[in-house]
Every structure is written in structure tokens, then in C-alpha cells.
């Protein structure tokens, strides 16, 4: 069992690059990736509303 477990751990460590890369991925995603996506999504929302105003609705009431 023990050997099996450590073998699996070694395998997964090899596949993912270990806990170090887990930490790197987590921090990049939480503090860089998702905030950028959020700002992008809000900007896209703003543009869509603006274009809808231009094309159909006119200035907001």
C-alpha cells in the first residue's frame, strides 16, 4: 500500500509539477486571471448596453 501510494504521489507530482506549481497556478488565477476576466466582462457588458442604446433603445430613461 505504502509503496503504491508514494508511487501515485510521485506520478501525480511528475504530471503536475508538484505543490509548487499548484500554488503558482492558484495565485495567478485568483489574483491576476479572474480579476482581468471580471474587468473584461464588465467592459463587454458596458459596450453591449451602449450599442443597444445606439441601435434600438436610445439614451437611457
Amino acid at each position: 500500500m505504502k509503496t503504491q501510494h508514494s508511487a501515485a504521489a510521485v506520478m501525480s507530482n511528475e504530471a503536475t509539477g508538484g505543490s509548487r506549481s499548484d500554488w503558482r497556478n492558484f495565485l495567478l488565477l485568483a489574483f491576476v486571471g479572474l480579476p482581468v476576466v471580471m474587468v473584461g466582462a464588465i467592459a463587454a457588458y458596458g459596450f453591449v448596453v451602449w450599442f443597444l442604446q445606439l441601435a434600438f433603445f436610445g439614451p437611457p430613461s
Binding site: 488565477l29 439614451p59 437611457p60
Partner: protein
């Protein structure tokens, strides 16, 4: 590309082996709090006066103008900053407006309004855009501070009370009347009514045949020769003319109008006894028997003046005639209804007679933002639909007899 997808899929689907769930959730929570706070801080920073006037167009043009008004400083020490009026306060409209500002950033980079002169040139368009926004939302931003429900009308001057009480009853947009409260007004001189563009393009597509009657969609100069070099006068918008011939870019038209036989008789009117200006000839031409053909004379019993029925032909540039006067009246009616109802209920067209309208109109038009061309059309519309031409109740005091002789 494939690798990137694989990486993202792994990132979301494969569980972390070494980091505890609590640590991940806590870390994500903190990151979320920080980024949302950061976003709001950035929104607030771009909504500050310092940010607005950091661009020199705002700093050099709008700020000094604002500083002369009550919105900059006043006895109570409450003041309006740029975004208080110009950025919507709720989230969706605010974000949309901020994205719309990408256009302004582009304008700043290209230098569309980089100098005071350029700014003044564009000012009317910019102002109209902002007025349209205020009229659509009922001046919501103004009313964040000045709302009808919080006004004590009794404390207003009596003359203000009349206007404000009826405005409140109609829930009227503030900027309908209060234009130019925080910045200088644009020069209306170059203003054009875009409605005329359609009319002019319709006119250029109008097929014109000799011998038929048409109406002018814009005022035109009249010439004695086909080369259009010798100017003899001008003909007004919505005047009915008969086309005699078309040669190249020029068109010979016949005017059949009336004039007062007094002085030079330069101003020609469309009907007997009614001051609806239709053409204005130059001094020498108006008395030229070779040009002007007097058909008949008649005395107006109201004024004792002698009126002459006159006929003349002249050349003008082609492409400004249409076969029906109704499209012109439609524009005039729309303009009359919107511009005049801003401050009071507009009187019925037939409430006054033709010769009363010009005086009334001249007294009121200064309070509106109607441009000169539109004003001429609106006046002519009112005169042509006055009690003199109406069969309704209002027609009582009209010079009925005069009209019967003028009409065929």
C-alpha cells in the same frame, strides 16, 4: 492553442493535491474582496473632477465656464462636480457611459477638439448629444439635487411659480428650459435642422416637368439669366412656383404672387391682403416693367392699401422643388409642437390670423432653440394654417372677403 485549452481545463477540473480546500477558498475569498474593492476604487477614481479636468479640453474649455456659474460656488457651499451631472448614477447606465467614453478618449488622441476654436465648432453637436440624454431621462442627474417633490413653490418668485408648478405637473425635464446653466450655450447660428436633409434629398430625386406647379424645400436665389450670374432676388421656402423649362443646372420658374403697391414693391406675398412672404426682389428689378407683369389691382379694405397681382419669371438652381407641400408642413408642425410646448401649451394654428402671427412669432422665437431656417418654415406654416385659411370656430375675425377673392 490546444495546449492553452488543455492547461485551462486542467486548472479547473483537476483537484489540487497539496493545498487544502480551506486555504483555497480563503485565498479565493480574499482575492475576490480585493479585486472588487480595486474595481470600485478605479470606478470612483475615473468619476472624480480631477480625472475629468486632467484632459486639457475639459480643463481649458469647460472648467473656466463652470467656474463663473452658481454650480461652482454659492452661498450654501454645495457644489456640482462634473460626474454629478454628466455620468449616470446607476450601475448599468454608468458602465455604458464609461464605455461610451472610449469615443472621447479617441477624440482626445486624434485631437478632434484639441483647440478652443475646434471645440467651439463642435460644441453644438456635443451639447445636442447631452441635451438628448437629459431629455430622455427627464434630467435625472439634475434631480438628484433639485427634485420637484422637494421644492417649496411658495418660496419662489411669482413668475417662477407659474412656470415651475406647471413643469412639475408635467414632470418636465429640467434641461428643456434650463440650457446653459453650467456652461456657455453653443452658437445656434450654424445649427441645422436634420429633418431638412431628407427633404432636400427627396427634392433632388423629384422629377420635374415643365408646366406643373411645385414647392420650394429651401430658399433659393433668383437670377435673370440662365447662367445664374445676375441675381435679382430670392424666393422663400414652401413657395409655390410653376416650372417653365429646365436647362442644365438651371430652371426657369414663374412666380404668380401679390404685392403692395407701395414703395418699390419688393416683397411679394402668396395671397391678397395676407403678409405671407414668398419672394423678395432687388430694388431695381421690382419696378422693371420688362420683368414684372402686373395683372390686376385691388384695394385691401382693412388697410386701404392697393395690392397688385403680379407675375414674373426667373432662373434658379434646380433640385429644390417637390410636388407636395405637405412634407414641409410636417416638419414645421413637428418643430412647432415640440419647441413651443416646452414652456406653454402652443396655441392652435387657427387661433390667430395670418397677419397677427409674424409679430407673435418674432416675440417668442427667441426663447426657443429653433434655427433660422426652421423658424422661417414654422412661421410660414402658422400663417398658412391661420384663421384666414381655417373653417373652424377661430376663423371669426378673419378678412373673409379678402380671401375669397384671393382663392381661385
Amino acid at each position: 492553442m490546444r495546449k492553452l485549452f488543455r492547461f485551462i481545463a486542467d486548472l479547473f477540473l483537476r483537484p489540487s493535491v497539496r493545498i487544502g480546500l480551506g486555504v483555497l477558498v480563503t485565498g479565493g475569498f480574499i482575492a475576490g474582496v480585493l479585486s472588487w474593492q480595486g474595481f470600485n476604487t478605479a470606478m470612483e477614481a475615473t468619476n472624480k473632477e480631477e480625472f475629468c479636468i486632467s484632459c486639457h479640453t475639459m480643463h481649458d474649455n469647460l472648467l473656466p465656464e463652470l467656474q463663473k456659474t452658481v454650480h461652482w460656488n454659492n452661498r450654501s457651499g454645495v457644489r456640482a462636480r462634473c460626474p454629478d451631472c454628466h455620468v449616470p448614477h446607476n450601475f448599468t447606465d454608468k458602465v455604458a457611459r464609461k464605455m461610451q467614453a472610449s469615443r472621447e478618449v479617441w477624440g482626445h488622441l486624434v485631437g478632434t477638439i484639441g483647440t478652443r476654436e475646434k471645440f467651439k465648432e463642435h460644441r453644438l453637436v456635443l451639447a445636442q448629444r447631452e441635451w438628448a440624454r437629459f431629455s430622455a431621462n427627464g434630467s435625472k442627474e439634475c434631480r438628484a439635487c433639485h427634485d420637484y417633490k422637494d421644492m417649496d413653490f411658495d418660496k419662489m418668485r411669482p413668475s417662477s411659480q407659474v412656470a415651475m408648478r406647471s413643469a412639475a405637473a408635467r414632470d418636465q425635464s429640467c434641461v428643456d428650459c434650463h440650457k446653459g446653466v453650467a456652461h456657455q450655450l453653443p452658437e445656434m447660428k450654424g445649427a441645422r435642422n436634420p429633418a431638412f436633409d431628407t427633404l432636400v434629398s427627396n427634392a433632388s430625386g423629384q422629377s420635374v416637368s415643365a408646366g406643373n406647379e411645385y414647392y420650394l424645400v429651401v430658399p433659393q436665389d433668383l437670377f435673370a439669366d440662365e447662367a445664374l450670374t445676375q441675381r435679382i432676388g430670392s424666393v422663400e421656402v414652401a413657395t409655390q412656383v410653376k416650372v417653365l423649362e429646365t436647362k442644365g443646372d438651371a430652371q426657369r420658374i414663374e412666380l404668380a404672387l401679390w404685392r403692395k403697391n407701395k414703395g418699390y414693391g419688393r416683397v411679394w406675398y402668396s395671397n391678397f391682403g395676407l403678409n405671407i412672404t414668398s419672394a423678395i426682389l432687388d430694388k431695381e428689378m421690382a419696378r422693371d416693367a420688362g420683368l414684372v407683369n402686373v395683372l390686376a389691382s385691388q384695394e385691401d379694405p382693412m388697410t386701404g392699401l392697393e395690392w397688385q397681382q403680379v407675375k414674373a419669371s426667373a432662373w434658379m438652381r434646380k433640385g429644390s422643388l417637390i410636388d407636395s407641400v405637405e412634407p414641409i408642413w410636417t416638419i414645421a408642425r413637428a418643430s412647432y409642437n415640440t419647441s413651443c410646448s416646452v414652456c406653454h401649451r402652443q396655441p392652435d394654428e387657427a387661433h390667430f390670423d395670418t397677419n397677427t402671427w409674424p409679430g407673435l412669432f418674432a416675440g417668442m422665437v427667441g426663447f426657443t432653440s429653433i434655427d433660422q431656417d426652421t423658424a422661417r418654415v414654422v412661421l410660414k406654416y402658422l400663417q398658412s394654417h391661420s384663421s384666414d385659411f381655417s373653417t373652424s370656430q377661430h376663423g371669426a375675425g378673419s378678412p373673409e372677403g379678402a380671401l375669397q377673392t384671393a382663392r381661385p
